[in-house]
Amino acid sequence: MIILGLKILLVVLALQGTVAYLIYIERKVCAYLQDRIGPNRVGWHGLLQPIADGGKLLLKEPFVPEGANKILFILAPAIAVFTTTIGFAVVPFGPTAPGDPSSFVIAPGIDVGILYVFAVSSLAVYAVILGGWASNNKYSFLGAMRSSAQLVSYEIPLGLSILGIVLIARSLNLEQIIAAQADGVWFIVYQPIACLLFFTSALAESNRLPFDLPEAEQELIGGYHTEYSGMRWAMFFFGEYTHMITVSFLTTILFLGGWDLPFVLSASSTGFLAGLAKMIVICVKAFSLILFMMWLRWTLPRFRFDQLMNLAWKVFIPLALANLLVTAVVVHVLRS
């Protein structure tokens, strides 16, 4: 129990530190893609920038606008952090063994793992909607409305796209999905369309460009978090980046073989060192995906709202359904 508590503490702290530095990396990536240098004043190459930013945000006034619903206004950022963080609970960030205290997951062996992640991460929309509504600001409200429409629409292709994986792996358990790919073929080979759909829908889910309409600066100032300041604003940021981390881990687990590294690490290699190596492999994969998301963000223009909706309902959902149908037929034929 104590070990679990320590593990949870460690994971949460690691997540927060990672998020802080992801923001730094994002700024650096953005700068380099635009021929700039990026933050380089605080510490060596600006490495202390996140700490300075954190300090600044802590000292800022947490302002509550007039006419805002105070309870919901304060609650919303907490929901953003809470939902995205507990979503990470079942995500294995290294090899797991039931009962082994050193396994790299907080809640090992959850049989509905992926359903749990989806259920919890779609709760994040509450943070956005409540935050936008409670602010008593039309920009916040518009951002929240867009966000709800967007999240509800992209939940569907997100869920449909992984059904093929579930059919092939015969499990919703994330660890077993990785096991099905270990020493075999990564699911991206079987399900390239699903991978594309999943990753794109995940971008929309986590409000990343090119789908960042809920916080489109040019139209909505800050979107749903226009009225937020200080640490409350930072918590929304934290939620968004944690979501990015979770989504990257999920993509890695579902499509890129998790900690599987062909010809180097085999599923049979056990022990703490092998476990550590596997953890590094999965983290590197997830981190590359995060970098890719940042690269995308600083490359693509934002979608228009009708384009966004058309993409979800007219392209992604039919494609995901077709993909599911074909997968089901092939799996059935091959297994019977």
Partner: protein
Amino acid sequence: MKPDDPNIHWVQEPKLGLLDKLYLPAVFSGLGITGKHLAQKKVTVQYPDEPHVSPDPLKYRGVHRLNRDAEGRVKCVACFLCATACPAHCIDIVAAESPWPDREKYPEVFVIDELRCIYCGMCEEACPVDAVELTSMYNMTGKSREEMVFDKEKLLSVYDATKDTEPMRSKGFRLEAGPASAHGREKGSGVFCQDGPEGASHKRLPTPFLGQEGHG
């Protein structure tokens, strides 16, 4: 203009093929473009640490200077053309009878309000004797508004500080032959203009001297 006007050339939107409709080729080519910039030379100038170098100091419009002639006298003949041309009305001249025989007037007072100035360079364009010029100095500071109102002495001192690094922007004429300046910044007919840099030093000013200097 009506929509059926024969002068209107209607352009059809290009029809997108299946590949284009997938967005993906465009996305990846876009990623390629931004990816290329990752390794490109950065354009950032770390300003306080490394000085900003103007690509052409002779075209930069910074602090004014009042040029001296070969004998060290102020070149200005107090004709008021600069003050007339100035759209910001920041030049204030009081003319007096010249103590020298080769001209009638000279400026007893010549004041430019550097805070009011919009650095358009029209005083430089207007000056018939190339007395007032803009320099490439941009880092001027002052602790009060009064300090930023530059009088004749201060403007002459700008000339003294910049004459070695920045030659005259155009060739002086009428009052003196003067050493040929660099850079043909065309004025008037162009008869007096010289093309090509002649010993033009494009170096930047070594120090932000205005910040160090005492009060004007």
